[in-house]
């Protein structure tokens, strides 16, 4: 069974976000494998250990993302692909196009990705990739069973559990609770440094800049307004309710 895992390197969730000159500052920041993608890597390794085959981890991202790939290799993945050519960077549309081009160059039965990346939180790339490849997808998995060609996927449907049957080839995305990712072992780290890691460029993928040009534009990056002190209502209960309703309507426009 050939399993491809799409992963992204993101800020450690405990990092503080600092914006400088309209950009998020990266100096001195600790980067990790996007936590949802870590579930994807873990699931892929477990399936491979059960069913045999090969796990390939793929990322589109800057050179530093190699570290995330090495960590996945240290956890047990077999091979890694890094698309670190800046010409390949754009938005979710771009990422899906680039990933599709990489995936089309190899054989696969199953693609596993994270449900979303904790940085941009768009949750689009994996699903777009399935569309690009013309294969079905099941998202936000909490349990995955593979029997021959058949897959039973338990998905978190906004708090309820939905059980979906599908057949390979298939793309799935991982939700928290799918598994508990392992730590890479120390010996795994040493082995990872000897495993193949291929870098690909725009030319390698036979893509042109127009093919993958971003469809969105970031016009401004800013931090959410700092939390202000709360307001405690007092007085007659009926008045409090009126005041609350009007506050919900006018301040912050919580209800329209």
């Amino acid at each position: 069974m050939n399993i491809l895992v799409c992963l992204k390197q993101t800020f450690d969730t405990e990092e503080r976000i600092v914006i400088e000159n309209g950009k998020i500052k990266e100096d001195g920041v600790k980067f990790v494998i996007n936590p949802y993608d870590e579930y994807a890597v873990e699931e892929a390794i477990r399936l491979r250990d059960d069913l045999g085959g090969q796990v390939t981890v793929i990322t589109v991202g800057p050179e530093r993302a190699e570290e995330a790939l090495r960590t996945a290799l240290a956890m047990g993945a077999d091979e890694a692909i890094l698309a670190d050519d800046p010409a390949l960077f754009g938005d979710e549309y771009t990422a899906a196009k680039v990933l599709a081009a990489i995936v089309k160059q190899r054989e696969f039965d199953l693609i596993i990705a994270g449900n979303q990346a904790v940085d941009d939180g768009s949750g689009q790339v994996a699903v777009r990739l399935a569309e690009e490849l013309g294969i079905p997808h099941v998202s936000t998995l909490t349990k995955l069973e593979v029997n021959g060609n058949q897959v039973v996927a338990h998905r978190d449907a906004e708090g309820d559990e939905e059980i979906v049957e599908a057949s390979l080839p298939l793309l799935v995305t991982a939700q928290q609770g799918l598994n508990e990712p392992r730590y890479p072992s120390l010996i795994g780290i040493r082995k990872a440094n000897k495993k193949p890691l291929t870098k690909v460029t725009l030319a390698d993928l036979g893509l042109s800049l127009e093919d993958i040009e971003a469809r969105t534009e970031i016009t401004e990056t800013f931090l959410p307004a700092p939390k202000t002190a709360g307001q405690i209502l007092s007085g007659d209960l009926a008045d409090q309710v009126k005041e609350l309703v009007s506050a919900l309507k006018t301040k912050d426009k919580v209800v329209g």
Partner: protein, 383 residues
């Protein structure tokens, strides 16, 4: 000069840091109170590879350089020292003798199981009459056919309750003094091996130190470690090898205490401002930071020298002395900066204060380290 750790070492250090932060630290209070490291944590530590640091790759370990080991010990020092000591004693004095001095057959028998942590190692030198003066051993080993018969008592043996493999020093020829001592690999299930009392200690909770009794214990002759008569030299070599590692653990604990102390000083307000604004607190913190930086580079320098195969007898003694003394000074300042909080068992500072104290005593007291340094100086100046 190159002050950077190799990439692979940095990667391992990162993983161990995450593991310590997420898997060990949350259990520290529990370990302290129950005086027990949960089996599940030991198992996870084994899976990570933390029991194979010293053992060569061909026997299933990591075969790390001293530099690599020190980098990992630094991270392990940032949590409850009882947990750290189990690993330190196993990877250090508990397995280094077998790695460095054994023959191929012994290596094949012991190292693979020690590398996975299935067999934990311990080092048994100290006796009631032989502490700092390790040459005064009374445990005897008498050759009888194809085996040695050992009789005697060992005290303060770290990991004894959980260890399977012991590096034991005993007297084979009382007439020869230190040259009549031999080291043996002893397994816990050898006939005549008995564990005595487990000591109650000031600190290092979770790590256990116990007495051993050997009553006509039979040790096969193939379990002699190195040459007969070399046991004292072997013991000194094993201890010298462990010194950098111990200092690296002290370094991690010091760094933990500085981190805590700076943060606390910035947060805690008295007289209308953070206590950090008091110059004396700033000076305490500065002194701590300078000593830590000094300790860090002495540690990595001695580790590097060791890896180059240089003679580090003097430097390792300096490092063990400095690391343990600095740890104690810093623990004392950390308590002071934390005030009452520093003395209350609900917070970790007092635990480090108690745990620091042993580092000036075991693996050669501070006084003995000074004796070693002075002896080396005398040698250098009277050549």
């Amino acid at each position: 000069m190159n002050f950077e750790l190799p990439e692979e070492v940095l990667q391992m250090k990162d993983i161990v840091r995450d593991f310590v932060e997420n898997e060990v630290e949350p259990l520290a209070m529990q370990i302290e109170e129950e005086n027990c490291v949960p089996d599940a944590l030991l198992e996870r530590s084994k899976a990570l590879g933390l029991f194979g640091l010293s053992i060569p790759e061909e026997y299933g370990g990591m075969g790390l350089s001293m530099l690599g080991k020190c980098a990992i010990y630094e991270e392990l020092g940032k949590t409850i020292n009882g947990y750290t000591t189990i690993l330190g004693a196993h990877n250090g004095i508990g397995s280094v003798g077998i790695v460095e001095l054994s023959n191929e057959e012994q290596r094949r028998r012991y190292l693979p199981k020690m590398a996975t942590g299935e067999w934990i190692g311990a080092f048994a030198l100290t006796e009631p009459q032989a502490g700092s003066n390790a040459a005064a051993l009374r445990t005897t080993a008498v050759k009888k056919g194809d085996r040695y018969i050992l009789n005697g008592q060992k005290i303060y043996i770290t990991n004894a309750p959980i260890a399977h493999v012991f590096t034991v020093m005993a007297v084979t020829d009382p007439a020869k003094g230190p040259k009549g001592i031999t080291s043996f690999i002893v397994e816990r299930n050898f006939k005549g091996f008995q564990m005595g009392k487990v000591e109650k200690k000031m600190g290092l909770h979770g790590s256990h130190t116990a007495q051993l009794y050997f009553e006509d214990m039979e040790v096969p002759e193939e379990n002699v470690l190195g040459q007969e008569g070399q046991g004292y030299v072997n013991a000194l070599k094993i201890l010298a090898n462990g010194r950098a590692g111990l200092a690296a653990r002290c370094l991690g604990s010091c760094q933990y205490l500085l981190d805590r102390s700076v943060r606390y000083a910035l947060e805690r307000e008295q007289f209308g401002k953070p206590i950090f604004e008091q110059q004396i607190i700033q000076h305490y913190l500065s002194e701590m930071a300078v000593e830590i930086e000094t300790l860090r580079w002495l540690t990595y320098r001695v580790a590097w020298m060791t890896d180059q195969g240089m003679n580090v007898v003097k430097e390792a003694a300096m490092l063990k002395l400095y690391g343990s003394e600095v740890y104690n000074r810093i623990a004392d300042k950390a308590v002071q900066i934390h005030g009452g909080v520093g003395y209350i068992a609900e917070y970790p500072i007092e635990r480090f204060y108690r745990d620091a104290r042993i580092t000036r005593i075991y693996e050669g007291t501070s006084e003995i380290q000074k004796n070693i340094i002075a002896a080396q100086l005398k040698k250098e100046y009277t050549r």
